[in-house]
Assembly symmetry: C2
Homo-oligomer: 383 residues x 2
Amino acid sequence: MRIRTPPWTPGSGPSNAVALEVLINGPISRSEIARKLDLSAGSLTRLSTPLIESGLLVEAGERVDGRAGRPSRLLDIVPESRHFIGLKLTGDEVLGVATDLRASVLASAEVTLSSREPASVVGAISQVVAALRERVASVTAVGVGIGGLVAEHGVVRNAPFLGWADIELGAMLETAIGLPTVIDNDVTAFTEYERWFGAGRNADRFAVLTLGAGIGYGLVVGGDVIVNEDSGIGLVGHWPLDPFGPVCASGHRGCAQSVLTLSAIVQGVSTALDRPVNYDEALDLAIAGEPAARRIVDDAGRGLGKLIAAVANLAMPQLVVLGGEGVRLVDVAADAVQEGMRLDRDPRTTPLPLFTTSGDNTEWCRGAAVIAIQTYVLGRHTA
Amino acid sequence: MRIRTPPWTPGSGPSNAVALEVLINGPISRSEIARKLDLSAGSLTRLSTPLIESGLLVEAGERVDGRAGRPSRLLDIVPESRHFIGLKLTGDEVLGVATDLRASVLASAEVTLSSREPASVVGAISQVVAALRERVASVTAVGVGIGGLVAEHGVVRNAPFLGWADIELGAMLETAIGLPTVIDNDVTAFTEYERWFGAGRNADRFAVLTLGAGIGYGLVVGGDVIVNEDSGIGLVGHWPLDPFGPVCASGHRGCAQSVLTLSAIVQGVSTALDRPVNYDEALDLAIAGEPAARRIVDDAGRGLGKLIAAVANLAMPQLVVLGGEGVRLVDVAADAVQEGMRLDRDPRTTPLPLFTTSGDNTEWCRGAAVIAIQTYVLGRHTA
DNA sequence: TCAATTACTTTTGCCGTAAAACTAACTCCA
DNA sequence: TGGAGTTAGTTTTACGGCAAAAGTAATTGA
């Protein structure tokens, strides 16, 4: 059965808000949408009917809960009506996923970079996109997340992991791939994913911290991701955590880069044990009680707790989402994280919910898919 | 001449926005308001006419700039059409001002507290209010700023400087004074003042840091002051600044309380010189090059710079307002402040404008007056 | 003196909104 | 088994806010 793909041009405020509400929280009834958006029942009918007629929304079953009164009819989108590709570009490889309209992964692919030259990287990206398009029909648009500073029109102002400055990646990609393409900072994209489909979906204010090769930070206030001209520089990447800690490449003692990153933990444990271990091995050793690994992992956990406390005190989020490849630390060092929070957080304050993501390869890619969905389907701001 | 005081009940969104725009940025022309609020010229006439007819707004002269075209007629409010009292309650005294609708000070008064018992404090407050009412006609409402946690209905959950917990100050004051009274955290009130009439008036995002007996922090995002159930606890009051610094009463080494407060500097310099000095003397000695004072003041400046950098990195404000009784530090230790910012702020980031307030006695009181104006005249949220 | 420019007012039509009335589909109880 | 009560959704209606367009006003400058 061939899925019809209606035009999701951003409509008027309330119409857009209805569509967005169904996209994010669907399946959902008209009456529930009316309550959430503070609209009358008549308005919901008036606004939803054209969206149904155009194929954007569908009726998807009824509420069954034995309550008195007319059963609600649930509205939903058709996730598979549109496909997107989301790509994460690291210093070593291109990771890609094909997704549906809710950024659920349908297929994935990856290619190792043979060179960091832009043309070579564009070639690798094209390979990933080609591989994904073979498996998923009719891709609408591509999103790319990259660590660094991305300006208008997909110009990569600076990408430290690739050694780039002022690369017009957007134009190069649209030429090479032939699909609409949006590029943004990878942490911003990750935060947009959490805002729509993650733990932050119904929060007015939340923060994101990502643990990986670097430490990333995102903030949502009033339902919108806060970005400015410094977004992408990595403002918490060198956050001071431990005055007696190790030293990073920039000469900072005990900063986030030298305490919290994958390589900080891997190199710390490898040095202490005088043999190479990888990240999971380091964490497993800590769990097993090996003293050096336990100490390094707990020092990192305490540092993360202090960073979370700082975010809580200054940005006042309702919750914090923790993700990235190194997110296993949060669970393995849970006691140390709480201890670090207690160090810098007034005991009278309200407990701050922490959510951890899966930390798998695809979550960065799903973020990239979300910025494509936002750019080419609905707007990037709440109605 | 008797000023007519029309009812400023909060109207519809756009009407309120017009009134607020004139209050904050007036005198201002209709065409300028239309541009700023993204309304048509016809709408400005439609919305402003009832406001003029009711007396809320007045026409106040014309633009004179030699440009071609019809001269603009400027709209303004009548600042003296309404009077308010703003009160700051410290651990030792009640400071109060009477203001107009723009929180400009018309008169001031203060009373030293003879006791911190609630009834005694309410008596002192009543004295200040009575003194001000003798000098300023027809007060509409009273605002009170207090350091600590203030809940709904003016219940002071906790006020460390007064040693209070769960005091129904709002009810007590309305009974004692006989005027509508609003109570809020003093830093929140200070921030509301800066949002409307200070350096933050046209900023979408800014932060406030206050230097005094404690260290206060406020944040505005999307035009609204961010408050939650922890507001008033003092989330940066013990911010870690210097691992080798002095120790505060809570046992924190080098926290904001032990490095940045008035007493931190006064006691640091007094101890070093083995003779008592006050705050201004300490700063003057630093300016004069006395080594111990210079060192302590510069350590405080550097600590302040690190705190500002932390705020910049996590809350991403467009500007920072610095105020409070200890604000002179910013100027006297300007080089150290910049050095502290450079320690923790990536050099590639955009320079962050810092604004300092006068630091005089009345600025806390003006903030308290603003929350009264907001509560009893226009709403506390941007339209 | 008149054209150009900018500000402000008035008129008009259009559109979106909620209230109210109506229809629909259930549960529960006598 | 039928009717009352409840909740959901639709349709009709009146109202109000909006901008576009046309008009009026007040200046500058050629």
